[in-house]
């Protein structure tokens, strides 16, 4: 130890978390046996490079929950859904492993074949957090693969609706191929057009001109027929709907260029515009591609199926059997253990149960249920295992009924009119007018010139630059926001955010941070106080054994406090706990439990609901209670004020109205609504929309799913991106909550950049049109103007949006 240095902090060699250093093996310190075991596995297989790449990179086993059960993976039906490819005895499975976070993880997972007999190879896709594992099914089963992965700290996240990833792959690949073909054609056409540019008469007079022309024509065919196909189909669909979008003038321009150039080539009157055509399509494809940036590791589309467990434990005359959720039927008896989700509406068969519905209704305290009560799906059982009988199918439960609402049927909320489509509504008619005007003007004097002018106008007005403004700006805004941990589902969300006029907040978990509650101790005189060290040890020893959320919060507060052994620990579900510790009788729980039924004032309970109280008594003497208050997120107050300056703010909560007085200071009382059911929230959003408002819903839990879908923009506040969040348009990391207003400002700035960029491209268009209407425009002119305008726009939008959004955090 060096002088001046305090005790050396010991960390676990495997996972890097601080530990007390009493577990030492192989001359290294570990925090628990789990970590030590994984180290030994790696060491015996010569894979210690894992630690050389990143120290302490392992997943910590210290606070690992109860062992997950994977028996359902032996089921044929489940296997067929998960195994992607099967060739004889070789099977390939793609597993999502949220624990992948660094290069060491890649190293270890790609060396799996060394650790696990039966695995032939494995490949990691880091950005998607996936591992593609190939194994021999004679030597190892799918279930074993998953169990071994969990044993080394890389537990896979098994979802049965994970078959939508295929789509992103094919989508991107198509773009790569189209851009590849377009670039190939563009380069070669430009090469063969060089004689034109350089005005080399020697070459242009000879047969070369004809041959080059024909080759250009052949090269242009794949571009127009294959690469540009999406512009044509989009324009066609818009026209069918009797509306105009940006692709209509683009398609017109492409057709004009193609036919005019073909005519010129085959009648030997000119060189054609194939180089401009190819370049234009190439740039626009790149613009489209740029706009389609997605965040592959996040999922914006999670439906309720990914919230519910994949399998449940069925009780068949005292025999337990794991079955996949889809096989669950009405009348089945199921066993739900501690911290497990209740998958379907059921009747309780056990004596009593304690259900935590916080994710569903927003109610923070668990609900106590007796034998015979109906228990709704979606809650988590706290405490011992309970049995229940299913009364409704999974898809018919109270909660999932929400998904039958019309809000979920809508594919895309088509009421958003993008800025680009607004511009194209007058742009296309204007262009057509000018083109026809030029045609009619020149027709009497010089027919050839007239057609020249007509097609030139269509060509030069082809809004390549205009069409690039939106994708590049929006794509850039998305990236800049992503760097600040605000993830948008797609580019159009930026425009939607720009138009928001009302913001609705869920209360529990969204405005409040359920993880960091404030705990204070109040003594029996009603004053803030501290328990003595000895008393703290007694309390800690007691709450350590309880799985009730309130006990856990007290336990977290007393993390550093050492504990004694507890005897005769009794948990009276939902009401309290008691035990004998070091010769003292310690009790903790609700007021009723501690004081007894007959204590005056116990029934006239005005429990502060926004604060929970855990009363404590030692040897019959009540010491006071722990007051646990939900903490509102950092920046809550100032955020409400700044938001109120330009949008209407509402708060919807599934909880009761205990906090109304507190919230009134920030939000007008008529904008606060409590006791909302999930469908109540959805209807509230609808009513706001009927008033003509553009609504953004901010939520976090399953109970907000309907509202999030119905709102124009759904935003989810996430403490951990790997956890479940309902389908939404924006995922905001909880640390960025105070910058919510900054998000809205950023979208305004982004749209401003687009407007300026439109202006610049229109200037280019006017300049080009001035040349085009004279009927003397040459191919070279177009070939120069188009790339220059495109590059100007791309550079401008990228620099301007970067500058406007600023280098620092959003304000």
């Amino acid at each position: 130890m060096k002088i001046g240095q305090a005790t050396e902090a010991t960390v676990c060699y495997h996972c890097g978390t601080p530990c007390d250093g009493h577990l030492i093996a192989h001359s290294k310190t570990f925090c628990c046996n789990g970590c030590k075991t994984v180290y030994e596995i790696l060491d015996s297989n010569n894979l210690t490079e894992f630690y050389d790449l990143n120290a302490g990179a392992g997943t910590s086993f210290k606070n690992a929950g109860p062992k997950k059960r994977y028996e359902y993976l032996d089921d044929e039906v489940v296997q067929r859904q998960l195994i992607r490819f099967s060739n004889g005895n070789t099977c390939r499975v793609i597993l999502t492993i949220p624990a992948i976070h660094c290069t060491s993880c890649i190293f270890l997972l790609e060396n799996l074949y060394r650790i696990v007999h039966g695995i032939e190879s494995s490949k990691v896709h880091f950005t998607k957090r996936e591992a593609h594992i190939t194994f021999d099914k004679r030597k190892i089963s799918l279930r074993d693969v998953v169990e071994k992965l969990t044993a080394i700290g890389y537990e896979p996240n098994i979802q049965l609706d994970s078959l939508n990833e295929q789509k992103t792959n094919f989508f991107l690949r198509r773009y790569y191929i189209k851009i590849g073909v377009a670039f190939f054609a563009f380069g070669n056409i430009m090469l063969l057009s060089f004689p034109e540019y350089l005005g080399l008469d020697a070459i242009t007079e000879s047969p070369f001109r004809k041959i080059f022309g024909y080759i250009n024509f052949v090269l242009a065919l794949p571009i127009v027929l294959y690469c540009a196909s999406e512009f044509f189909s989009s324009a066609y669909h818009a026209l069918k709907r009797k509306s105009l979008n940006m692709d209509v003038p683009i398609a017109l321009g492409i057709l004009a260029m193609f036919f005019r150039s073909s005519y010129e080539i085959f009648s030997y009157t000119g060189a054609g515009y194939f180089d401009t055509l190819a370049g234009l399509i190439l740039f626009m494809l790149i613009g489209r591609f740029f706009q389609n940036k997605t965040y592959e590791a996040l999922s914006f589309e999670r439906e309720y199926q990914s919230y519910f467990p994949v399998a449940v434990t069925l009780k068949n005359n005292d025999k337990e059997q794991q079955i996949p959720l889809i096989k669950l039927r009405v009348g089945d008896r199921i066993l739900v253990r501690n911290m497990e989700l209740i998958p379907a509406d059921a009747v309780l068969l056990s004596k009593n149960a304690n259900i935590d519905y916080s994710f569903v209704t927003g109610e923070a305290t668990p609900v106590f249920r007796k034998n015979g009560d109906t228990i709704y799906a979606g809650g988590k059982q706290i405490g011992g295992a309970v049995e229940m009988e299913v009364i409704k199918e999974v898809s018919q439960s109270y909660l999932t009924q929400l998904w039958n609402d019309a809000a979920f049927g809508k594919q895309a909320k088509e009421n958003i009119t993008t800025l680009a489509s607004k511009v194209s509504r007058w742009f296309t008619p204007a262009i057509l007018l000018i083109a026809i005007g030029a045609l009619l003007y020149w027709l009497p004097t010089d027919a050839a010139r007239a057609w020249n002018a007509f097609t030139s106008v269509l060509i030069i007005a082809c809004p390549c630059a205009l069409a690039l403004s939106s994708p590049f700006t929006l794509g850039n805004v998305m990236r800049l926001l992503g760097r600040r941990k605000i993830f948008l589902k797609d580019a159009i969300t930026v425009e939607k955010l720009d138009q928001v006029t009302a913001v609705v907040f869920d209360k529990t978990g969204t405005l409040t941070n359920t993880k960091n509650a404030k705990i204070e101790f109040v003594n029996d005189e009603g004053m803030l106080a501290e328990l003595h060290a000895e008393e703290l040890k007694l309390v800690k020893s007691l709450v350590y054994h309880s799985s009730h959320p309130l006990s856990k919060k007290v336990n977290d507060l007393l993390q550093q406090v050492p504990r004694y052994e507890t005897e005769n620990f009794v948990e009276a579900d939902g009401r309290g706990i008691e035990g004998w510790i070091a010769e003292h009788h310690v009790k903790a729980g609700s007021k009723k439990y501690i004081y007894g039924e007959n204590y005056p004032g116990v029934n006239a309970e005005s429990d502060f609901r926004h604060a929970s109280k855990v009363y404590v008594s030692i040897d019959g003497e009540v010491k006071g209670f722990f007051l646990i208050k939900n903490e509102y997120r950092k920046g809550f107050g100032s955020l409400m004020k700044t938001l109120a300056e330009h949008v209407s703010v509402y708060v919807l909560s599934g909880d009761n109205d205990a906090e109304k007085n507190f919230l009134k200071q920030y939000i007008p009382a008529e904008n606060l609504v409590f006791n909302q059911s999930p469908s109540g929230k959805l209807n509230f959003i609808r009513s706001l929309q009927d008033q003509g408002k553009q609504v953004m819903m901010v939520g976090d839990g399953l109970n907000d799913a309907g509202a999030l879908k119905q709102a124009d923009v759904g935003l989810v506040i996430s403490d951990d991106a790997n956890n479940f969040s309902p389908a939404c348009d924006v995922i905001l990391d909880a640390s960025q909550f105070e910058h919510l207003n900054g998000l809205l400002n950023a979208t305004h700035k982004g749209m401003g950049v687009i407007k300026v960029s439109f202006g610049i491209s229109l200037l280019y268009n006017c300049f080009g049109l001035w040349m085009a209407v004279t009927g003397t425009m040459s191919p070279i002119f177009a070939a120069i103007l188009m790339p220059i305008s495109s590059i100007t726009i791309i550079t401008f939008t990228t620099l301007a949006s970067g500058w406007r959004l600023g280098r620092n955090s959003l304000e």
Binding site: E49, T103, E110, I115, V116, H125, V181
Partner: protein, 59 residues
């Protein structure tokens, strides 16, 4: 100068060959992940599943 036709012809054939190779590589999934390969080459113990022997396996 007629040789130009031959030269242009050959260069186009080559270019088409490259395009075909590109399309093949995209379709076979080589461009699906552009991050992990950059990390993979930095490992000391090169992963070589075809030549692995039966090692100590974890039970």
């Amino acid at each position: 100068m007629e040789i130009m036709f031959v030269l242009i012809g050959i260069s186009l054939v080559f270019a088409i060959g490259f395009l075909a190779a590109f399309i093949y590589s995209v379709k076979s999934g080589q461009f699906d992940d552009d991050y992990t390969p950059s990390v993979r080459i930095l490992f000391d113990n090169k992963v070589n599943p075809s030549s692995h022997k039966k090692q100590n396996t974890c039970k």
